[in-house]
């Protein structure tokens, strides 16, 4: 990497706008020296932030209550009642929220040193977020964290949520992102899963067509704990969902499942690093990509098995369905195994819709577009079916159907 390349990066308008806003944040020096991630960094080889570099991201301003309510109704009309925390342009909206016991929202908080470019940016500009501690043995049920944006000129939000589950605690977290206009959403979500605790994390990313979504999720799972996640990526001009999750005690479980469904010129990147740092742990990952038009998907999935992690059971599958000639995927599965008694399998497939299957459906009177929808849904099935919560599964199903209906019109 030449120093010239770095110097150039610090000159981008986007970075300048962030640096100006970062004030006296402890993360400022790192942000200043490292800049925004760029393709010279191996982990960002397939995802370029070029599309946002010339934008000037201003500090967001809060929306009035009535407007915020309407935004919520328009963007997430299907949101069911129940415990939820709603943010609009990064601001907590108490009147739209319903906080269960144990949930607090912090406004601004000093964060400890960060090193990952996405968490550095988040720390430099962050406005806090949800803190949820689920006490020992408590099943906290469902909680939705809804992050909406409404931007007339480019803004950016940097929420940080910290979720801790005491031993034996349980939680289903639904994370929803949606918005209108041009904005950058840069959420950081941390899970601390204690012994025998279990968190199910379902994320819907339905940000606007002209938005940027750079998310970072980190999880630490203790003995017999479970972090089970599913991310549905439907929106954003450019999106990256990056996960780092480590199993640190015996018999831990980590599931990082996802579907990326992309049209137009969207670019979506799912990058994960799953670390087996203790023996007898299980990790599962099924990632499906449906890509049409000139969209571009990226999958980078690394499974690390430390020397101590004997009897690891790891599974990873990444599949892409390309619905147009210009659709693209870059897939980079990586296994890094230092233990000798492990079972790890992984695979990747790339294909188009099967003509014979399509013809079979059509010969039964099913019009072409409906036949394609059936096959796409079948393709996504193995992944969507991994969502344990039936209500959430059909909720996401409906979102996929709506995406398809939009393609037809």
């Amino acid at each position: 990497m030449s120093s010239g390349a770095i110097a150039k990066k610090t000159e981008t308008r986007a970075l300048q706008s962030f640096l100006k806003r970062a004030g006296k944040s402890a993360a400022l020096p790192v942000l200043k020296s490292e800049g925004l991630p760029h393709r010279g960094i191996e982990a960002w080889h397939y995802t370029s932030l070029r599309v946002l570099e010339d934008l000037d991201f201003a500090e967001a301003t809060p929306l009035g209550e009535v407007d915020a309510q309407e935004l919520l109704r328009n963007l997430v009309p299907d949101l069911t009642d129940g415990p939820r925390v709603v943010f609009v342009n990064g601001f907590f909206m108490p009147s739209l929220s319903s906080l269960p016991a144990g949930v607090t929202v912090v406004e601004r908080e000093a964060v400890s040193a960060e090193t990952h470019p996405l968490t550095v940016l988040n720390a430099a500009l962050g406005r806090g977020g949800v803190r949820f501690h689920v006490p020992e043995g408590v099943d906290a049920g469902n909680l939705a964290i809804v992050s909406l944006s409404s931007a007339e000129h480019p803004i950016s939000t940097h929420l940080r949520h910290e979720i801790a589950l005491a031993p034996g605690a349980r939680l289903t977290l639904l994370e929803i992102h949606a918005g209108q206009g041009t904005y950058l959403s840069n959420p950081v979500l941390r899970f601390d899963v204690s012994k025998a605790a279990s968190v199910r994390h379902v994320k819907l990313q339905a940000d606007s067509d002209t938005s940027f979504h750079l998310a970072f999720v980190e999880g630490n799972v203790a003995e017999e704990g479970t972090y089970d996640s599913f991310t549905l990526t439907l929106g954003g001009r450019l999106a990256r969902h990056e996960v780092r999750c480590a199993m640190r005690g015996l018999h831990g479980n980590v599931h990082v499942n996802a579907a990326q469904i992309l049209d137009g010129e969207r670019h979506a990147d799912l990058t994960s690093r799953i670390t087996h740092a203790a023996p007898h742990c299980n990790s599962r990952q099924t990632v499906k990509n449906v890509i049409t038009d000139a969209a571009h998907a990226v999958f980078q999935g690394k499974i690390e098995v430390e020397r101590i992690a004997q009897k690891t059971d790891g599974y990873q599958m990444n599949q892409a369905l390309l619905l147009s000639d210009r659709a693209q995927i870059d897939s980079k599965p990586e296994l890094e195994i230092y233990a000798d008694d492990v079972k790890c399998s992984h695979g990747a497939t790339i294909g188009a819709l099967d003509d014979e299957q399509l013809f079979y459906l059509r010969s039964r009177g099913i019009p072409e577009i409906e036949a394609k929808a059936i096959l796409v849904r079948a393709f996504l099935g193995d992944a969507l079916d991994l969502i344990v919560d039936e209500g959430l599964r059909s909720w996401l199903d409906a979102r996929v159907d709506a995406w398809w209906a939009k393609q037809v019109n």
């Binding site: 010969s363 009177g365 059936i374 099935g381």
Partner: protein, 256 residues
């Protein structure tokens, strides 16, 4: 109306690794309304190709000829339009659809066809009632409806599933491409009954088979012998018996 299904001078080819490979070479065939015809012919003579071309599979390029169906230009229609118009193909090798539930598939198909025909869609209850009656008639377990389409079905189960679809879609013209192969004698009877009970003035069929046996159960009005992409001989049901006894040689020589 005598040109209910009228195939004239049909030529079709397939792209075989970049080279056009002619398969149908001027095929003429007429099937009047209400009749069942059979086609017999050696492997590779183009029987399945004919059935695909009639159903609208676009890998096959029609280079000449025409197909009139019920007053319409069949070749100008998309596969789903043909199904709505009443054409049904029971595939020689039905494809598997992993992840697609058989009952949902069937209901989607039935309602697509009903919609296109200007009929009311069946709701879940009405559909279930109809499909249960049909599975019973075909000696199929309801469990097969819960499985994915043709996935893990035995050869015989796949063929029954084709006949089930045919009955649910109420076609005017059905093509059965070797629906008898892989069936034991009991299954053959059940399948034949599934076809025979549809017979009437508004139902015609083209039965492609290698075996006289099927034609004992589904008695054809006429039997055609096909070779090298053409019909080389046509006659009454006795043709099937002659073929069974003497093989194709006599007809092939006569046509050569």
């Amino acid at each position: 109306m005598n040109d209910f299904m009228k195939i004239s001078g049909l030529c079709a080819q397939i792209d075989d690794n970049g080279l056009p490979k002619p398969i149908l070479r001027g095929l003429d065939l007429e099937i009047p309304k209400g009749q069942v015809h059979a086609i017999m012919g050696p492997n590779g003579s183009g029987k399945s190709t004919l059935s695909y071309v009639l159903a609208g599979r676009d890998d096959y390029e029609v280079t000449d000829g025409s197909v009139a169906f019920d007053g319409q230009d069949l070749l100008a229609m998309s596969p789903d339009e043909r199904a709505a118009a009443g054409v049904f193909l029971a595939f020689q090798s039905p494809v598997e659809l992993p992840g697609v539930n058989n009952a949902n598939f069937l209901r989607t198909a039935v309602n697509a066809v009903r919609r296109a025909r200007g009929e009311d869609e069946l709701d879940a209850v009405a559909f279930l009632k109809t499909v249960r009656a049909e599975t019973k008639r075909l000696h199929m377990s309801d469990e097969m409806l819960k499985r994915n389409v043709n996935v893990g079905f035995s050869g015989g189960e796949k063929k029954r599933n084709e006949v089930l679809q045919m009955r649910m879609l109420a076609p005017k013209f059905a093509i059965l491409d070797e629906t008898d192969s892989g069936l034991d004698i009991d299954a053959l009877r059940v399948v034949a009954d599934g076809v025979n009970s549809l017979r009437g003035p508004d139902f015609s069929a083209l039965v492609i088979t290698h075996h006289q046996r099927l034609l004992d159960y589904i008695q054809p009005d006429r039997v055609h012998v096909m070779a090298k992409g053409r019909i080389i001989h046509s006659g009454g049901p006795e043709v099937a018996r002659q073929l069974e006894a003497q093989g194709y040689a006599k007809y092939l020589e006569a046509a050569a």
